[in-house]
Each structure stands twice: as C-alpha cells, then as structure tokens.
Point group: C2
Chain length 126, copies 2
DNA sequence: CAGGATCCTTGAGGATACTG
DNA sequence: CAGTATCCTCAAGGATCCTG
C-alpha cells in the first residue's frame, strides 16, 4: 500500500488530493442540518436564537456544531457584538450564497415531485 | 396539544401535511450516500456490484439501504433479470434525473470554491 | 451476484448544567 | 444570550454469515 505513493506523476497526486478534499467538503455540506441552516439564512442575518427557532427541530448542539463547520469552511460569517448579553449574528458569505442557490433548486425539486413521490411510496408500500 | 388540530382551516392542514412530507423527503435525500449514488448513476444503468465499486467507500449495507429508499421514493428503477446468478440493474427515473441536475450543480460548486474553502480552513485553523 | 438477517461497536446526537 | 462541557442513550452503520 505504501508503494502506491510512488505511482503516478505529481500532477496525479494533486488531482487526487483535490478530489479527496472535494469529497470531504461534499460530505460536510451534504447533510440535512447544514443545508437547512443555509436555506434558513438565505439573504438574512440571523442571531443564534433566531436560527434555532427558524430551523425547526434542530438541537442546540447540532446548530452550534454545524455553524462552526460552516464557518470553518467559510460559508457563513460569524459576527460577535461585544455587548452584554452577547449578540452573535450569522450571515452567508458569497460561497455560502452560491451554495444556497443549489439548495433552493433542491427545495423546488422536492415540491415539484411531491406527488410523484407520494404515489411511488403508495405503490411500493405493498 | 390535541386541540391544535381544531385550529386553522382544512386547507391549512393540507399545507402542513405537504410541508411535513416535503421535509421528510428532504431528509431522505439530503444525505451523503443518497446523493453520491444518484451522482454515480447519472445517465447510466448500473448493477449492484458496479455501483458498489463506483461509489467509493460505501458499504454493502448502506448501498442496499439507500437504494431501497430511492426506489421507494421513485427516484431509481430497479430491474431484476431472473437469471442465475441474478443480475439487478439500477437506473434513475425522470424525477431522479431531475434531482441529479441539482446534485451536479452542487458538485460544480464544490470544485469552484475548493480554493476559498481551503484558505478559509487555514485561517480558521488558529 | 444480490441482498436479507444478525451481531456488535462506535459515535451521532439529546438533555442538562455551567460560564462569560 | 451564546457557547462549551459532560454524560448518556440509542441507532447508524460495519463485519459476517446465510440464502435464492
């Protein structure tokens, strides 16, 4: 297995690295909560508590966790107002907004095919 | 809580039902493996074993499980050839292909912002 | 070959309490 | 209010074995 690293050109290695990174990012982002958070943010700026109310069913922990992940990947910007009590606001960055558009499309898809899917489920139910 | 069902018109109830269904479908579909399977299928027809090779890292169990789910929702068609050994082929249906387009967009997004994200991660690393 | 069934482990994720 | 830390539970998911 170790010998594998000697196969292929350096360019190949770069491609593999980019691929594995892309894969990692995809895995980060392709999850229910992350996508729902992005969708909820939209063009708005929301506080932590507003976001928790907006994203129905999300737990305190999941919200924090996903927000950190999204921040780390540069999809949301986190702005802390040093007041008391603290006020923390989240906004989509440009990459975040770009991703949001594809999420929108996915939501549209869901609604467009609601009927198909419901019917299919009934058929399958047998 | 039970009294809740008396509030709102029947039309409201329909909307809520559709929403919860949409939400459920979204949760089904917005997961790593489902999206990777859809992406792997693309325009092709693949056998179970081909799919397992194609979707890197997926386990036997996850593959079966997600394929069943996708079939149930009518996103993939499952065709069994009654030969021995059996031959089972999976193909995206029309709704499946429609969803695939948004997945494609998501993949494009991933690659377009690879740099941004990598940079953001380094910054965040602190 | 496709895929169900079973067992087993790990970690996702909830609830709660505590801090700045 | 926002966030971290801790504990605890249950289910996601892997490995393995078995069948048509």
């Amino acid at each position: 297995m170790v010998t594998k690293q000697f196969k292929g050109s350096p360019a190949d290695a770069d491609l593999r690295r980019a691929d594995s990174l892309a894969r990692e990012i995809f895995s980060d982002v392709a999850n229910k909560w992350a996508l729902l958070i992005i969708e909820a943010l939209g063009e708005r700026t929301l506080r932590f508590s507003e976001l928790r109310d907006e994203v129905e069913g999300v737990s305190h922990k999941m919200l924090t966790q996903n927000l950190r992940m999204l921040e780390r990947n540069g999809l949301v910007e986190r702005k802390v107002h040093p007041t008391v009590p603290p006020r923390v606001e989240y906004t989509l960055t440009e990459p975040g907004r770009a991703l949001r558009e594809t999420v929108d499309t996915m939501c549209d898809w869901t609604h467009r095919y609601l009927g198909h899917i419901e019917a299919s489920r009934r058929r399958f139910g047998a």
